[in-house]
Symmetry: C2
Subunit: 248 residues, 2 copies
C-alpha cells in the first residue's frame, strides 16, 4: 500500500531508472530541426497539438537567469521572478511549448502564496519550472533547492544595477516565507513594506534562480546527484527540519 501513499518510497530507484531513459535534453542542432516543425517537442494527437512532457531543455546561463529574476521581482514578485528567470530564456531558445505558458499566472505565489507566508514564492517558482523541465526526476532537484535554501545565508546575488542597498544576510532555517523574510527583517531592522525588504527578496529570488539553473545544467549533463534526504522518509511525515521553532 505504501507505494500509492507517498511517491518518495521508491524515488531513488525510479530516479535512476528514469535517468537512464532521459532524452528530453536537446542540443542546438536537434533543436533547430525540431523547431523547424513549428512546435519543438510537440506531436499531433487527434485534432490537437500536445507537447511531450517533460518539456525539452537547453542549458541556460545561471547568471542571466539570476538577472532576469532580479529585474522581474520588481514586476510581479518572487514566484514569477524565479519562474520567468528559468522559463523566459526557454521561451526564447526553444519556443513552444514554453511560449504557450503564461508565466505571469504564477505571480500568485508572492508572500508564500497570496501573502499567507507559506512556501517562499521563489521556491515555488523554481519548483514549477524544474518540474516542467525535468518531470518527476525534478523532485530531487526541488528537494535539493529547498534544502540548500534553508541552510544558506541570503542574499548572495549582486545585481549589476541595484535598486537600493542592503546590509545584512541571514539563514532562514526554513522554506517558509514568514520565517525567512521575518528573520532577515529583524536583522536588518526594517518593515515588510520597505524598499530594503523588497531588494532582499529580489536578490534572494535571483539566488534561487541561479541555483536551480546550476542543478538543471548538471542534470542535463547527467552529472547531477541528489544531496538532501527525503523529508517524509526521514521524519515519517511531511515537515521542515526546524522542529524546535514551533515544538520547543
Amino acid at each position: 500500500m505504501s507505494d500509492i501513499i507517498h511517491p518518495s518510497d521508491n524515488r531513488n530507484i525510479s530516479r535512476k531508472e528514469l535517468f537512464s531513459g532521459a532524452g528530453q535534453m536537446i542540443g542546438g542542432a536537434a533543436l533547430a530541426s525540431i523547431a523547424g516543425l513549428g512546435l519543438a517537442g510537440c506531436t499531433k494527437k487527434g485534432k490537437e497539438t500536445v507537447a511531450k512532457y517533460p518539456w525539452p531543455y537547453v542549458k541556460l546561463d545561471p547568471q542571466k537567469s539570476g538577472e532576469i529574476a532580479y529585474e522581474n521581482w520588481y514586476k510581479k514578485f518572487c514566484c514569477y521572478a524565479v519562474a520567468s528567470g528559468i522559463l523566459q530564456p526557454l521561451q526564447e531558445k526553444v519556443g513552444e511549448p514554453y511560449s504557450v505558458l503564461p508565466i505571469e499566472a504564477f505571480k500568485f505565489g508572492h508572500g508564500g502564496t497570496v501573502g499567507w507566508g507559506t512556501l517562499c514564492g521563489s521556491l515555488l517558482g523554481a519548483s514549477i519550472a524544474v518540474s516542467l523541465i525535468a518531470g518527476e526526476e525534478g523532485e530531487d532537484i526541488i528537494n535539493d533547492v529547498i534544502g540548500w535554501y534553508t541552510e544558506t545565508e541570503f542574499p548572495l546575488f549582486k545585481p549589476t544595477a541595484p535598486k537600493t542597498e542592503i546590509k545584512n544576510i541571514s539563514v532562514s532555517g526554513s522554506p517558509l516565507c514568514h520565517v525567512s523574510v521575518g528573520r532577515w527583517m529583524k536583522k536588518e531592522g526594517v518593515d515588510f513594506f520597505s524598499e530594503g525588504r523588497a531588494e532582499r527578496c529580489a536578490r534572494l529570488s535571483a539566488d534561487v534562480a541561479v541555483h536551480a539553473v546550476t542543478l538543471l545544467n548538471l542534470w542535463a549533463d547527467r552529472k547531477y546527484e541528489a544531496e538532501y534526504d527525503d523529508q517524509p522518509m526521514k521524519y515519517q511525515m511531511p515537515t521542515q527540519n526546524n522542529c524546535d521553532d514551533c515544538h520547543a
Copy 2:
C-alpha cells in the same frame, strides 16, 4: 514605493476595475465558434500561437471536479488531484490552451511541496488552476479558499466508491500540510504512511476542488465577493493566523 512592494496595496480597487472588464468567460455558443478555429482563445503572434491569458472558463460541476480530485489523488497525490479536478474538465470542454498543459507537472506539490510540509498541495493545485482561469483577480479567490481551508472541519467529501473508511474530521487552523495532516493524524490515531491518512487527504483534495470550482462559478456569474482579509495588510507581513502555534 509601496505599490511595487506588494500587490495587495491596491487589490480591492484593481479587482473591481478588472472585474468590470472581465470577458474571459465564454458560453456554449461562443465556445463552439471559437473552438472551430482550432485553438480556443488563441491568437497567432508572429510564427507562434500564444493563448490569451487568463484562459477561457466555462462553468464546471463542482461535484464532478471533486470526484476527479478524489480519484486522481490515488494517482499523483494532492496538488495534481485538485489541479486536474479543475483543469481536466476544461481540457475536455475547452481544449487548447488547457490541453497543452501537462497537469502532471504539478505533482511536485505533494506533502507541502516534495514533502517539506509547507502549503498543503491541495491548495497549491487550486491556486495554479484558479490563476490560469481568473488571472490576477484569482488572487482573491485563492485567498478565500485558503482562509476557508484553515477554518473548516475536513474531510467533508463522501466518495461514491470510498477506498477505505475513516472516522474523524478536524480543523487545521493553518494552510500548512504539516499542521493540517498532523492534527488529523493525531485525532484519528494513525501514521502518515497509512491507508486512512491517504483516504483523508484524497477526500480533503476533493473538498478543495469542490470549493474552488464553486467560487469560480460565482466569479463567472459575476456574483463572487471576496470574503477574507489580505494577510500582509492585516499583519504587516506575510503570515498565517495561528500565531500562537509557534510564538506562544
